[in-house]
Symmetry: C2
């Protein structure tokens, strides 16, 4: 064990980022308890972890206070990554974001209090900056209005964590992510495009006009940043933007995807500036604060997109598994 910081508890451990984090923690010899209801997480992402004696997977729901509290016993750090992670469908299920992101976070905090766990690191989102007045957007940007239920519910989670840090002596970190890419990526536009092109290689319908700018981060770089912050936990509470110092357009990414797949589909744009209601046309975060800790992203956005395409092509079971 390189760092005796006790047992790590990961909610959403079978998810895209959660499973990558679990593997990274296990590689350094740490003990990890994964907690996941497997509603969107995949046990298959934990193939490596599950053969590691330092790993335990507990199937449970963050809305089940009793199961959550019992599962967390003996842990000393909580990575709260379980979430309703798809910003696009908030309006179809207005309650889901509140439950999965805000109430679930309240449950995690109470479970920590009951178990005497002090340290929490939370995956929030650049979506909470709404229509950002400042781009690249720093952590202390002007107080934004929320444009999605996803952002609103993540902001609620952030606020609860901060209040627990102030009120109960917790130490908390909020990561505001841009979109992530890389191995085990399971939703978002690169996923949708690859899936579509596997079925229908000649044409590709694209929401919006394709000029939406997107700043992606490679999941491996993301996890490295998270571990770096964990090694320097703040006394009380800090927010870190996590993103790349670059962006691409949706069209750029389509070019890279097509290149990787050896395809040149006809693009059919639905038109308009935005892909969906509540979509922010441009999330581009100022990452000076995390870079000041010595972190830098290793993969460019293009490399991130390409590694994602490679992984999706090598793991096409992911498309067939669920509708």
């Amino acid at each position: 064990m390189t760092d005796d910081d006790g047992k790590h508890f990961i909610t959403g451990a079978a998810g895209f980022i959660g499973s990558t984090l679990a593997d990274a923690l296990l590689r350094t010899g740490r003990q990890v308890v994964g907690y996941d209801n497997l509603s969107t997480g995949r046990e298959r992402f934990l193939i490596q972890a599950l053969v590691d004696p330092n790993f335990t997977l507990i199937r449970g729901d963050v809305l089940d206070a009793f199961s959550l509290t019992a599962a967390m016993r003996g842990c000393s750090t909580v990575w709260h990554l379980a979430a309703n992670a798809d910003v696009r469908f908030g309006l179809r299920h207005p309650r889901r974001d509140l439950e999965q992101n805000a109430i679930a976070t309240a449950n995690v905090l109470e479970a920590m209090r009951v178990n005497g766990v002090r340290d929490i690191l939370f995956s929030s989102t650049g979506s909470i900056y709404g229509e950002a007045a400042v781009i690249p957007t720093p952590e202390d940007a002007p107080f934004p209005a929320q444009t999605s239920l996803y952002g609103a519910s993540k902001l609620a989670g952030e606020g609860l964590i901060s209040a627990y840090c102030q009120g109960f002596g917790f130490r908390g970190v909020v990561f505001r992510f841009v979109s992530m890419l890389g191995e085990r990526y399971t939703h978002g536009h690169v996923f949708d495009f690859v899936r579509h092109l596997l079925r229908e290689p000649e044409r590709l319908p694209v929401l919006g006009d394709g000029n939406q700018r997107k700043s992606y981060l490679y999941v491996g770089d993301c996890v490295k940043a998270m571990l770096r912050v964990r090694a320097k936990m703040p006394e009380v509470f800090q927010v870190y933007n996590l993103g790349a110092d670059a962006y691409c357009t949706v069209k750029d990414s389509i070019g890279w995807i097509g290149g990787r797949m050896g395809l040149a589909p006809k693009l059919e744009f639905s038109g308009g500036e935005r892909g969906w209601i509540g979509d922010s046309p441009f999330i581009y975060l100022d990452t000076k604060k995390i870079r000041a800790l010595g972190w830098d992203n290793q993969l460019t956005i293009r490399q991130g997109v390409e590694s994602t395409v490679d992984w999706l092509l090598a793991n096409s079971w992911i498309f067939g598994e669920r509708p």
Copy 2:
């Protein structure tokens, strides 16, 4: 009727601000449905309203989605004022703020959607600015960290409202209040001080060092500002700070209270900068935005404190009614 804007629905209608707003709306001939579970609201505050044929009081809880939805039928404006309004006890009941302020707001929004009601005005708080980096604090201050569960839960409510405005075509207003004073004031330090001095006129225990600065607004001025904003509803969503362009210290207010009561108690300070964990030492809001609508407060802070003392002395039943 001076303005045909349909029936007004007030959650927390039996509360301090809710009942004052109900009276003001009824004075202009509007129809008002008051919704209150009477847990902290007082039916006695609605003595005038209850004899008005344009007023209906429905006893119900904002957490009861069915009752709330039924009660709102036929209304066209929602004033969502029901809340757990006491910032001080959040840590004793960590779930209460989330339920009363965030989940309740989600319920109000869903009840509106079901009933086809578009307009919502919401009572939030200057507490959400936490340890404000800019004082006086404008609506677009740097993104703050939350210092209380109360603030965090109100921020969650704000975010949900904003997201509904963006996603469902609602029109929303968030009012961020300083502390209010005036007739029907039922909690806070002026209340506590008057109650204590009625029992024990010679001495007064004071939390903190008495130098905490407080910016109060008179409830009558607050309601006038709210009605002015209602008359100019934004197309989508706006935030307005509501406060006075002045402040006093807790010691100042004690002097005014003592003067009004003809007492000069010995002050016993508990010491320290803050009254309680999560108390913000100074909430002083920039109110240029609301003033640009032509509103100004009529009563000074001193007049607000004195009117409160007069009302409390004339209504001492309020001290006996509940512990």
